[in-house]
Symmetry: none
Subunit: 231 residues, 2 copies
Amino acid sequence: MCAHVLVAEDDEMQAELIRRSLLAEGHTATVVHDGRAALDAARLHRPDLVVLDLMLPVIDGFGVCRVLRRDDDVPVLMLTARSTEDDVLLGLELGADDYMTKPYSPRELMARIRTVLRRSGRDGDRRADPVVRAGGIAVDPVRHEVRCEGRPVECTPAEFEILLAMAGEPERVFTRRQLLQCTRGLDRASTERAVDVHIMNLRKKLEADPRRPARLLTVFGVGYKLSGVRA
Amino acid sequence: MCAHVLVAEDDEMQAELIRRSLLAEGHTATVVHDGRAALDAARLHRPDLVVLDLMLPVIDGFGVCRVLRRDDDVPVLMLTARSTEDDVLLGLELGADDYMTKPYSPRELMARIRTVLRRSGRDGDRRADPVVRAGGIAVDPVRHEVRCEGRPVECTPAEFEILLAMAGEPERVFTRRQLLQCTRGLDRASTERAVDVHIMNLRKKLEADPRRPARLLTVFGVGYKLSGVRA
DNA sequence: CGGGAACCTGACGAGTTCCTCACAACCGTC
DNA sequence: GACGGTTGTGAGGAACTCGTCAGGTTCCCG
């Protein structure tokens, strides 16, 4: 959790306040005071997040946001004294990821920054938990642990690797060959049918009714997928 | 941009209001009025987003959020009359993706829902997946899924391969031989007439009136083509 | 060296898919 | 409108896929 944040804020006092909060959280920050500088800095530094005041000289926040969105997919958190509904709507419509009105609490601002960074997957280093979650199943590669609806589930190494791969991309179909590779089964030239057995055993552990799977679905003629199907 | 949203809201009037707004935007919605029902519904329906009131009976919003986060990675938008800074901070800390205090503007709520869906990449259409679309038909090779006017359609492997090829180049005429190759039917030295049967079966699934096809068109003496024109 | 866990294989049955065949409907041309 | 070639369609059986189980092999640990 250490990102680079571009702060575009007219008021120098405010900007300094935000910068200090960011540094205290372990982030790095670039501060600019007008719209043109914001765009230049964004191009130069490629920040992980832009905190954008709307009342900026030269180019206003809306204009900056428009250009940022056109060129890049950097998350934007808008910050403004203007709080009319139309402003908020316009801001969010332009692609802002969050919108806070002044006066704001610095701690809330930091919390929202964390949230936006988390969701956009730009939080620099991945010290955040690498747990993969999908369809009510949580796979923790560090602790080598699987939980289903909160209940711990014992898994063999092969089962674990298969589940980890599938939970990483829910809905995606994996061929037997792909799943076999997860279990390092290729060195022994195993049959693809071996995967079937692992899937069966996983179903016994993860499905309420293993005969009628709701999560580990068979895609006939192709392979398997982990799904959050709506029944 | 059409997601399934779970609305967990104590007040039935409010809930109904939100539900209608969601439907008007093209989303689908499930409404529940207490925390336990929210968790059950989330397990059953696997929504793309949860709009979560904090003041819920049985289990409160914080508890619901905690469990949701443990099992799954569904985005959460918190909604509450409690507006103390600590509530906001706790909510965001628990992993909420946004936090709005009542009274709120329905249009702002919708705008924030759009934003959260966009950022979480759950808005139905995955930009990452190379989904092929033509004539109201979407073919997703990664998920191995076909949708027609939004409705999921079950396809056999051969049907899927044929449709994938045709949707990749709408309007182009494919000979039976070409389509046969898609189904790996060549190694089995099958007749080209086998393609006719697959086309027929596809028409039963994709055409409003299979006798008068509007999408899977016959090109007499040549083969078939998928028309991208909406009649 | 014995025991146990994990994994693979091979086989069988059940279910699904695919192809062929035959005939009806259709198209285009004369 | 008639004719030859092309396409639509239904049914049945061959071919394939998948779930499942029992047994065998490998590996690790005591």
